[in-house]
C-alpha cells in the first residue's frame, strides 16, 4: 500500500503531501526533507526506485517536479510508477497543460483529484474520464 505521496519541486518545496499512515508533524517534515534529498540528485538514467528506510520510494520527475510514492518493498514497482504517470495525465487534462503554478494556486483542487484517484493508500479509480467527470460534478456544487 501507499504510505505517502509527495509532490515536491527541485528546491524541495512541497506542493502536495498526503499521508496514509499516521505520522507526527515532525516526522512528516523529516520524511519530506529526506525524500527530496534522496531523489533530487539522481541521474535521469537511473532507476525510478530508491530504498527509503524499510520501504521503497517510486518517483518520477516531470520538468521541475518530483512525484514520489512510498510503498512497501514487496509492492509492484512498475505498477506504481505508471500510476504516477496516470495521475499526471489526469492533472494535465484537468488543468489543460498543467504547470507547477497551476498546482500551487489550485493546491486545494489537487487534493480533491487525489482523493478521487487514491483512497486508503490504494488505487481507487484508473479511468481518467471517470475522474474528470467527477471533478466537473463537484465544481458545479460549489
Amino acid at each position: 500500500m501507499i504510505r505517502f505521496i509527495l509532490l515536491q519541486n527541485r528546491q524541495g518545496k512541497t506542493r502536495l503531501a498526503k499521508y496514509y499512515v499516521p505520522l507526527e508533524e515532525s516526522e512528516k517534515h523529516k520524511v519530506e526533507y529526506e525524500v527530496h534529498r534522496l531523489v533530487v540528485n539522481r541521474d535521469a538514467k537511473f532507476t525510478n526506485f530508491v530504498e527509503f528506510r524499510t520501504h521503497k520510494v517510486i518517483y518520477r520527475r516531470y520538468a521541475g517536479l518530483f512525484f514520489s510514492v512510498c510503498v512497501d518493498i514487496t509492492d509492484n514497482e512498475l505498477a506504481y510508477l505508471e500510476s504516477i504517470h496516470l495521475f499526471v495525465e489526469i492533472l494535465d487534462h484537468f488543468f489543460s497543460n498543467v504547470c507547477e503554478l497551476d498546482l500551487v494556486f489550485n493546491f486545494h483542487k489537487v487534493y480533491l483529484i487525489l482523493d478521487e484517484f487514491i483512497l486508503a493508500g490504494e488505487l481507487q479509480e484508473t479511468s481518467k474520464r471517470a475522474i474528470i467527470e467527477r471533478m466537473s460534478e463537484l465544481e458545479k456544487l460549489q
Binding site: 512497501d72 496516470l86 500551487v104 487534493y111 456544487l141
Partner: protein, 1013 residues
C-alpha cells in the same frame, strides 16, 4: 471554491517573499490574523472560515507548524452546505491523523453523513474514514460501510469508496469485518462489471485473504475469471485500457491476491490461470513507448511472482528464469533492477544456481553500475548465488569494488565478503588472505567481529598459523596500515611470530621493532594488545635476548603510570611477570583453541537481513496488512533491528577478553586478568568519592572507565549564600526554572529560595551513581515546622533521600543526602515535593531535582581515528537517529561548542571536514547500559542559524533517542509565550508560591511537562 481571492493573494504574497525570513514573517502574520478571527466567532462567516482553513493547509504544506485551528477545521465537517463541508473534510484529513482526539468529536457527524441520503456527503465521509479512520471508526462504522458497498441502489462512485474505506477499517481492526457473513458477499463483489469498483474490491480482497485465505477460497476462481477477462480484453471499456493494456493495475491486484492462496487445486481453474500466465510470459514485448512498456512489464513481473509462488511446472519455471536472465542484462535500468531483484527471489524458491551462473559477468557489471539501487540488487544477488565453485571470483569482485564503493555500502559489502569467504573458502589460507585484504582496503568498515573470527580460525588450525604469521608480517612492511591491521597482526605475531624465527627479518627483536613503530599511531584500545604481544615476543625469544628485554621493559615502565587502567595494569603485571623467568612461560603460553560455535558474523548477517529487504518472499509471507502500516514506528515491522555490536569503551575489544568470555578450561590467564583489578587498586581509585554501590548493584569493575578517568569535578563550595532577614510574604526569590536549568549544567548552587528558606544543592557524580546533598537553611529567627520532603522518582532512577528533620531551628541549616542511581537512559526528571509551615502558612513547592541525563555523561574526546570507525559501526535507526531541528536558538559555532561541552557532550574539534559541522562524543552510564559510547554530529547551516541537522548514535536505541531529545531541548529556545505573564525574567520576584505547585511552575514549560510525566 472559485473566487477565494484572499487565498490566491496570500499564495502570491508568500511566493513573492525574497527570502526564508520574509516568508516566515508573512506566514506568522497570517497565522496571527487567522488566530484572531477564529477567536471572534461572531464575525466568522462560513466563507471566511473556509478560506482560513485552506490557508492553514497551505501554511502546513510549506512546512510550518499549525498547532491551532484543528477544531475549526473539524467543525466545518458539520456545516450544512457542501462547499464548507468539503473543506472541513479535506483539511481535517490532511492536518489530523487517527491518533488525534479531535477526530473522535467528528465520529457522529461522519456516521450521519455515511448513512444519510446525500451521495456527495457520503463520498466525503467515506474518503475521510478511508484516509485517516482509526480503531474507533472501525468499531462503529464497519457495518454501515459494508451496507453501502453491497447496496444495489448506490452508484459505483460510492461503492468503490466504500470498498477502500472498509479496507482501512479492516487494517485498523480485522475483527471489524465478520468473516462468516462476508466471504460470500466478497465473492459476489468480484462479479462486478464496473472496473472502478472491481479495482477497489480487489484491493480489499488482497487484505482479507492475506489474513485468512481459507475463508475466502470461493474468491479464487473469481480472480482467475477477472484475469481471463482482462487478458482477453473482453468487456473492458476503452477508458480502462492504459496504453492499450487492459487495466494493468487490476491485473496486478488480481495476481497479487492469488499469491496468498497456497495452491490451486481445482484443475480447470488451474488450467485457465496457466493459460493466462503463459500468454503474459510469452506475449510481453519490449516496445518503444515507455509507459506501455512499464505497464506491460508491471503485469509481467507480477506474473513471474505468481509463477514462482505456485512453483509451477518445470517448463514454465525455466521460461521465467530465461526471462530474468534476459532482464538482468538489458540496459533499461528499471527492468534490470527488477530482473536482479526477482532473480534473487527465484534463488530462494528453486535451484537455479547453474543457470544464474551463466549470467555472473553481467551481474558483476551491475555491481559497478552508477545507480546505487542497482548496485544493491546486484550485491544481494551475488551474495545469494555464491557457492564453493564461484566464491573465489565473487569475493574477488567484492574486494575490488570495496575500494570504490560509497561509504553507505562499505560495511555491508565487507560483512558480506567476510561471510562468503568463511562459508565457501576452498582453503583456509585463502580465507586469511581475504580477511587481511578486507582490513587493508576498508579497515574502517570492518567490524571487530570480522577480525576476531580470523583470529579464532588461525588459533584453531595449526597448519594455518605459520602462513597467517608470515602474511601479517608482510603487511607490517606497508607504510600506512589501518589500526585494525595493527591489532590483528600484533595478535597473530605475538602468538605465532616465533614460527617464523628462521626467516629473515622475523626474529623476536625485529618483530618487536616493526610493531613498536606502529605504537605511536594507534589509539588506546590497541595499546594493550601490543603490550601483550611484546610480552609474548620477549618470552619466545630464543636464546633469551637481553637487548630486547631492555627495550620491552622500558616500554612497560613507561606505561606503568598510564592513565588508562587497562594499559597500566598490563604494563605493571607483564613487567613483574617477565622478571619471574620460567614461570612467565606458563602464563604466556599459546592461547588454547576456541570452542566451535556459530559464526557471529553469520548470526549478525541474519539479523541484518531481517530488516533489510533481501528476502522479499519471506517478507510477503510475514506481512500482515494490519501490522504493516506504521512507518514512524522506530522498530521496523519486519523484525528486530540489527543488534550491531557497538564497542563499549571498556577496552574489551581485544581477542583475549573474547577468549576469556569463552571460559576455556586451561584458564591460564585468569591470574593476571586485567579486567579484575586488585582490591587496593580499586579502592585507591574510588577512594576520593566514597560512593558505595547500593547492595545488589553491579560492582564497579564492569565499568572500566569509571575508575580510569573519573576525576571528580571541582566542587564549588559557596553553595549557600549568606542569610538575611526577610519579610514574611511568600514570594519566590529567583526563578525556579532558571535555577534548575543552571543546576543542570553545574553541580552546586541554589535550587530554591523564598524569604524563609533556601535550599541549596551539591552533587557528585560517578558513573551511573550520584550523591546529592540538600542544604536547607532557615533564614528566619523562628523555626520552620512540619518540614516535609518527598522524592517522586521517575522510573529510570533509584533515589534514596535520607530523612529530613521535622523542624529546622532558627538560622540553622540541615543537610540531607540523596543517593541517586541511574538505571537506564531517560530524560524524565525526579521531583522533590517540599513543604513547610511558617506560622500558620503552609508553603509547598514541587522542585525538579537536577539529576538530568547529562549528569550521567562523562566528557570524552576522541581522535578522528577513534571517532569515525565507531560512527560508521553504528548503522541507521534506531541506533543512529537523525533529525532536522528547527527553531534553534541562534548561536555562533564556538558558543554552540561551549554549550555542548557544558553538558558533557565533548566537541571533538577539527574532526569534521566541514567547518560548519561539529562532532562530539561522550560516555553515558547507567545500570542497564553500562558505560556506553555516544556520538553526535551537528550540521549547521551558516545561512540559517535557526536550524540544524542533528545525528546521534549509540549502542542502545533508547539512549540514542533520549540523548537526541535532550540535545534538542538544549538547543531549542524555550517558547517564551507563557512567560509573558511574568513581569520580567531573571532574578526579579516571580509569583508567589501558592500552596499547590501548579501556579508556581506555570512559567516553566519544562516543569509542567515534568508534572505531566
Amino acid at each position: 471554491m472559485t473566487g477565494m481571492r484572499g487565498l490566491s493573494v496570500f499564495i502570491s504574497d508568500v511566493r513573492n517573499c525574497q527570502n526564508k525570513e520574509a516568508e516566515r514573517l508573512r506566514v506568522d502574520k497570517e497565522l496571527g490574523n487567522i488566530r484572531t478571527c477564529f477567536k471572534n466567532e461572531k464575525v466568522l462567516t462560513p466563507y471566511k472560515k473556509k478560506k482560513y482553513v485552506w490557508k492553514m493547509l497551505y501554511i502546513h504544506m510549506l512546512g510550518y507548524d499549525v498547532d491551532f485551528g484543528h477544531m475549526e477545521a473539524v467543525s466545518l465537517i458539520s456545516a450544512p452546505k457542501y462547499p464548507e463541508k468539503q473543506v472541513g473534510y479535506i483539511v481535517t484529513s490532511c492536518l489530523l491523523n487517527e491518533n488525534h482526539d479531535f477526530l473522535k468529536l467528528a465520529i457522529n457527524t461522519v456516521r450521519n453523513d455515511i448513512i444519510g441520503r446525500n451521495e456527495t456527503f457520503q463520498c466525503l465521509a467515506l474518503t475521510l474514514v478511508g484516509n485517516i479512520g482509526g480503531r474507533d471508526f472501525a468499531e462503529s462504522l464497519a457495518p454501515d460501510v459494508q451496507k453501502l458497498l453491497i447496496s444495489s441502489s448506490c452508484r459505483p462512485l460510492v461503492r468503490k469508496k466504500a470498498a477502500l474505506c472498509l479496507l482501512r477499517l479492516f487494517r485498523k481492526n480485522p475483527d471489524a469485518v465478520n468473516v462468516d457473513g462476508w466471504a460470500d458477499r466478497m465473492a459476489q463483489l468480484l462479479d462486478e462489471r464496473d472496473l472502478g469498483v472491481l479495482t477497489s474490491s480487489t484491493s480489499l480482497l488482497v487484505a482479507l485473504v492475506s489474513n485468512n485465505h481459507e475463508a475466502y477460497s470461493s474468491c479464487l476462481p473469481k480472480c482467475v475469471k477477472i484475469l481471463e477477462r482482462l487478458a482477453r480484453n473482453q468487456d473492458v471499456p476503452q477508458e480502462y485500457t492504459y496504453y492499450g493494456i487492459p487495466s494493468p493495475w487490476l491485473q496486478v491486484k488480481a495476481m497479487r491476491a492469488l499469491q496468498y492462496f497456497p495452491t490451486i487445486e481445482d484443475p480447470s481453474t488451474r488450467k485457465a490461470l496457466f493459460e493466462v500466465l503463459q500468454r503474459i510470459l510469452m506475449g510481453t514485448d519490449v516496445v518503444k513507448n515507455v509507459n506501455k512498456n512499464n505497464a506491460s512489464h508491471a503485469v509481467l513481473f507480477e506474473a513471474l511472482s505468481l509463477v514462482m509462488h505456485l512453483d509451477a511446472e518445470k517448463e514454465m519455471m525455466s521460461q521465467c528464469v530465461a526471462l530474468l536472465g534476459k532482464f538482468i542484462s538489458v540496459r533499461e535500468p528499471n527492468i534490470r533492477y527488477l530482473g536482479l531483484e526477482n532473480m534473487t527471489r527465484m534463488l530462494m524458491v528453486t535451484d537455479v544456481q547453474d543457470i544464474i551462473k551463466k549470467h555472473q559477468s553481467q551481474i558483476i557489471t551491475s555491481l559497478k553500475d552508477p545507480d546505487i539501487s542497482i548496485r544493491r540488487r546486484a550485491l544481494d544477488l551475488l551474495y545469494g548465488m555464491c557457492d564453493v565453485s564461484n566464491a573465489k571470483d565473487i569475493v574477488e569482485e567484492l574486494l575490488q569494488y570495496l575500494s570504490t564503493a560509497e561509504f553507505s555500502m562499505r560495511e555491508e559489502l565487507s560483512l558480506k565478503a567476510a561471510i562468503l569467504a568463511e562459508k565457501f573458502a576452498p582453503d583456509l589460507s585463502w580465507y586469511v588472505d581475504v580477511i587481511l585484504q578486507l582490513i587493508d582496503k576498508a579497515g574502517d568498515f570492518v567490524s571487530d567481529d570480522i577480525w576476531f573470527r580470523v583470529v579464532q580460525f588461525v588459533t584453531n588450525n595449526e597448519d594455518l598459523q605459520p602462513y597467517a604469521a608470515s602474511k601479517a608480517r608482510e603487511y607490517m612492511d606497508k607504510i600506512a596500515i589501518h589500526e585494525t591491521m595493527v591489532k590483528v597482526s600484533a595478535y597473530i605475531l605475538g602468538e605465532y611470530g616465533h614460527l617464523l624465527a628462521r626467516q629473515p627479518g622475523c626474529s623476536a627483536s625485529e618483530l618487536f621493532s616493526i610493531l613498536h613503530e606502529k605504537l605511536p599511531t594507534v589509539s588506546t584500545p590497541t595499546i594493550p594488545i601490543l603490550l601483550s604481544t611484546y610480552a609474548k615476543l620477549l618470552m619466545h625469544a630464543q636464546p633469551p635476548d637481553p637487548e630486547l628485554q631492555k627495550k620491552v621493559w622500558a616500554v612497560f615502565k613507561k606505561y606503568e603510570s598510564c592513565i588508562d587502567v587497562e594499559i597500566q595494569q598490563r604494563a605493571v603485571e607483564y613487567f613483574e611477570l617477565s622478571k619471574k623467568g620460567p614461570a612467565f612461560m606458563d602464563v604466556l603460553a599459546e592461547m588454547p583453541k576456541f570452542p566451535e560455535r556459530q559464526s557471529s558474523l553469520i548470526k549478525k548477517a541474519e539479523n541484518v537481513e531481517d530488516t533489510a529487504d533481501q528476502s522479499a518472499i519471506k517478507l510477503r509471507a510475514q506481512q500482515q496488512p494490519s501490522n504493516a502500516i506504521v512507518l514512524a514506528d522506530p522498530q521496523p515491522v519486519n523484525g528486530a533491528p540489527p543488534p550491531l555490536k557497538v564497542p563499549i569503551l571498556s577496552g574489551s575489544t581485544d581477542p583475549e577478553s573474547v577468549a576469556r568470555s569463552l571460559s576455556h578450561p586451561n584458564g591460564t590467564l585468569s591470574n593476571i586478568d586485567p579486567q579484575t583489578p586488585s582490591p587496593d587498586l580499586l579502592s585507591d581509585l574510588l577512594g576520593p568519592l566514597a560512593i558505595e554501590a547500593p547492595p545488589g548493584a553491579v560492582s564497579y569493575e564492569q565499568h572500566g572507565p569509571v575508575g580510569a578517568e573519573g576525576v571528580p569535578d571541582e566542587i564549588d563550595g559557596s553553595a549557600i549564600v549568606p542569610v538575611e532577614e526577610q519579610t514574611n510574604t511568600v514570594e519566590l526569590i529567583g526563578n525556579i526554572a532558571e535555577r534548575f536549568h543552571a543546576l543542570c549544567l553545574k553541580d552546586s548552587g541554589v535550587l530554591y529560595e523564598d524569604p524563609h528558606i533556601q535550599i541549596g544543592i551539591k552533587a557528585e557524580w560517578r558513573g551511573h551513581h550520584g550523591r546529592l546533598v540538600l542544604f536547607m537553611g532557615n533564614k528566619n529567627t523562628s523555626p520552620l515546622t512540619s518540614v516535609q520532603a518527598l522524592i517522586l522518582p521517575p522510573a529510570h532512577l533509584r533515589l534514596d533521600l535520607s530523612p529530613v528533620p521535622d523542624t529546622i531551628p532558627p538560622r540553622a541549616q540541615v543537610q540531607s543526602p540523596l543517593e541517586v542511581m541511574n538505571i537506564r537512559p531517560s530524560r524524565d526528571v525526579a521531583v522533590l515535593d517540599f513543604s513547610y509551615k511558617f506560622g500558620t502558612n503552609v508553603v509547598s513547592a514541587k522542585l525538579r531535582i537536577p539529576a538530568t541525563l547529562n549528569k550521567f555523561l562523562q566528557p570524552l574526546q576522541l581522535t578522528s581515528e577513534e571517532f569515525f570507525p565507531q560512527w560508521r559501526a553504528i548503522s541507521g535507526p534506531p541506533l543512529k537517529l537523525q533529525e532536522v531541528v528547527r527553531g534553534v536558538r541562534p548561536l555562533a559555532l564556538p558558543e554552540m561548542a561551549n554549550l555542548f561541552n557544558s553538558f558533557h557532550v565533548t566537541i571533538c574539534p577539527g574532526l569534521d571536514p566541514n567547518p560548519n559541522n561539529l562532532v562530539a562524543s561522550t560516555t553515558f552510564y547507567s545500570e542497564t547500559t553500562g558505560a556506553m559510547l555516544c556520538l553526535a554530529r551537528i550540521e549547521t547551516d551558516p545561512a540559517d542559524r535557526t536550524q540544524l541537522r542533528l545525528t546521534v548514535g549509540s549502542g542502545d536505541p533508547t539512549l540514542t533517542f533520549e540523548l537526541k531529545e535532550f540535545i534538542k531541548e538544549q538547543l531549542i529556545t524555550i517558547p517564551m509565550g507563557s512567560r509573558a505573564l511574568v513581569p520580567a525574567a531573571g532574578p526579579a520576584p516571580s509569583p508567589a508560591v501558592q500552596p499547590p505547585s501548579p501556579a508556581a511552575l506555570a512559567d516553566d514549560p519544562g516543569a509542567m511537562l515534568a508534572g505531566l510525566l
